[in-house]
Symmetry: C2
Subunit: 414 residues, 2 copies
């Protein structure tokens, strides 16, 4: 099927979904969950094909782990859809309505975005997760997964569409692009006529490719070079607990800490404690020259380290003379994700909150909280690191648009 045809079908499905009530949508999510559970053997068999092919072609163990499905992971996909069914429907809410002097009542109503395209890599569970959230917000979905996961994705999408069909919901609410050529992705990124937004989910390379080549509006997600700045007034134990948590609780995620910034006034006392805590956890510290001279055992950082998202047991460390220098350093090298200050100084906290340019700015807490569930959104489609439309964790509301509705009684413009 060509991309034009997929686009047309999605647009038709979107206008159908826009009028679908919440109980029908939830019914469909339950049916899709059941169809995934029923289809478990089929999904696992398809996934084994993908895994065998990927292993033969030399995929790394970490990537293979992302690709591989187990009965528990299939069940988690189904449960994810049921959890989304339980979330409040954002559609139809009138956010505000005001009467103008001429009597016009002007309101702003929440509506679906329309057609959402998701471009992702080797994790087949994204297939069900992304569908669930987009669908609940009344959107039609076009998925383009990694070619390594093609058989898995086909099986999962097949099950979901079967579930939709069972409860008489338009199957084309979910479509999968099975053409694995680069040309297919290129076309999707230029399908402005039919696709309202593209959300890339995956590594930095994928996201950059989509941002640099798409003329369809993109919501940029993901990359996180998250900093923790330890101010001169920081509570050392709090700082150590937060750094330990943000760096090591889960290594490969975008809200993990990758860079430390420490005030020079406390370096002599704090660095030995920091080193002890992180070395226990096998974390390599790449520090600037001054820190290396203060304490042995650090690796000397290069300029490249300041901008690095390691996603590994590595962290960079920079000493600064002042809060201003810390803020300037973070604003230069961060990726607009999550940044934290550890401080007991009221003014330092306020200044950091005001001046750091990022989706989420923390005082005395771990950057690992930047997450839809932790923010109380129930679930998330990703974490936006751009400023337009949505910034930070994106729940159901980020998958909606608004339209103005205007009640008149004959008004004309003078």
């Amino acid at each position: 099927m060509n991309l034009q045809e997929i686009g047309q079908k999605s647009k038709a499905a979107a206008s159908y979904l826009g009028q679908l009530g919440v109980s029908r949508k939830n019914e469909a999510l339950y049916a899709a969950a059941q169809a995934i559970l029923d289809g478990e053997p089929e999904i696992l068999t398809a996934n084994q094909d993908d895994v065998i092919r990927a292993a033969a072609s030399g995929m790394s163990p970490a990537m293979l782990d992302r690709l591989e499905l187990t009965p528990a992971r299939v069940q988690a996909m189904a449960e994810g859809l049921i959890q989304v069914a339980a979330l409040e429907d954002p559609i139809g809410e009138v956010i505000s309505m005001k009467q103008r002097p001429n009597g016009l009542m002007i309101g702003q109503k929440r509506v679906p975005l329309g057609v959402i395209g998701i471009i992702y890599e080797a994790r087949p569970n994204v297939t069900a997760d992304a569908f669930g959230l987009c669908f609940k917000a009344g959107n039609a979905v076009i998925l383009k997964g990694g070619s390594d996961a093609l058989e898995s994705n086909k099986a999962i999408v097949g099950c979901i569409r079967r579930g939709l069909s069972r409860c008489k919901i338009e199957e084309d609410s979910l479509q999968l692009i099975t053409d694995t050529s680069r040309e297919a992705v290129r076309q999707l990124m230029r399908l402005n006529q039919y696709v309202d937004v593209l959300i890339p989910r995956g590594g930095a390379g994928l996201i950059r490719t989509v941002v640099e080549n798409s003329t369809v509006p993109v919501i940029e997600t993901g990359t996180g070079n998250c900093h923790i700045y330890v101010d001169e007034t920081a509570d050392f134990n709090m700082a150590l607990d937060i750094i330990d948590n943000a760096k090591t609780q889960r290594i490969g995620v975008c809200n993990a800490c990758e860079s430390l910034v420490v005030h020079k006034k406390i370096a002599r006392q704090f660095l030995p404690l920091l080193k002890k805590r992180l070395v226990e956890k096998q974390v390599e510290i790449r520090a600037d020259r001054e820190a290396c001279e203060l304490l042995p055992g650090f690796v000397l950082a290069t300029e490249e380290d300041w901008g690095q998202e390691y996603l590994d047991y590595v962290v960079s460390l920079k000493l600064v003379d002042s809060l201003d220098e810390a803020i300037a350093h973070i604003n230069q090298y961060n990726t607009g994700h999550s940044e934290a200050i550890i401080t007991s100084d009221y003014h330092a906290a306020q200044k950091f909150l005001n001046e750091i340019d990022a989706a989420a700015v923390y005082v005395n807490a771990s950057t690992r909280f930047t997450d839809g569930a932790e923010f109380g959104f129930g679930a998330e489609i990703g974490i936006s690191t751009q400023k337009l439309h949505a910034r930070g964790p994106m729940g159901l509301k980020a998958l909606t648009a608004t339209k103005y509705i205007i009640y008149g009684n004959g008004q004309v413009r003078a």
Copy 2:
């Protein structure tokens, strides 16, 4: 100066502006207004150069009128800046703050977008208008005006920067790209590292070019193929007044009515009245075959007419059998701008409001109200016809982003 350099300077100016208080911003707007008034002779002289050059190269009288500045137009630019100074500052507002079960206080704060690029055509007054709104919302601005207006734009930007400088505000808050090559625009559209959003202002061709070529996020504005549907229960006099107003009150604007849809049940009585009213105003009616057979004097419409934004004394006319057919027709051909129904039927009104996919959907009012001032925003930067970020008239709030601010006391993620 190359585009990279302009981008860097704008980004630096943006981080400066993000911390600027409202009274300093207003001071700067007043100073810029005064500098424009002081610079009137210089601006008019530069503009005369542009006008003479454009006339010599055969520019149409309508376009020349848009290009030409008069003392009154220069004063209006200055007044526009003063009006923007009077608007409430959107920056710094905390839209919501909630406490999570773990004690984290998570709030969402309104911040500037950062760097806004505006690409526009021959109207030099856009130079001051666009600067004023973007600046008030704390953004740095990069302008790329039409080459026909280059001397005028240089003079206006020179005055504004002089005003900023007089009150010690960073001059690079406003930069003008004076390189008139296509390559300069192409580079601006790919300046993702420095530019947060591009807003094209001008005709359909310009907007399409920017949407199709920019990798910087774009807010699509402008094109309006606005419909008015006259339902079988419409009050005829109300319908005629609204159609007359929406079609003829101002011909060349995006919220003017371009397409009429009329229920067949009332066609025999309504069309003669409609024809009489519009013919009085010199409006040509391009109607479908059935309407042409009912009444002489219409021009037979072609398929192309349904999608046309005439911006002229022309309107298309389509007869339909039902409200459903009217909605389907409008959703097929509209440009996502403004659509209206004239009806006395409650259910028809609600159905139209729900099912029409556009930025502004009206019951019993003229589409001409889709405008920032009419909506109560004080001023507007344009009318967004896309769904992402902002939809409909864009006031100051549409020129802002948000960031999450999180107050903790040592929380780590379990």
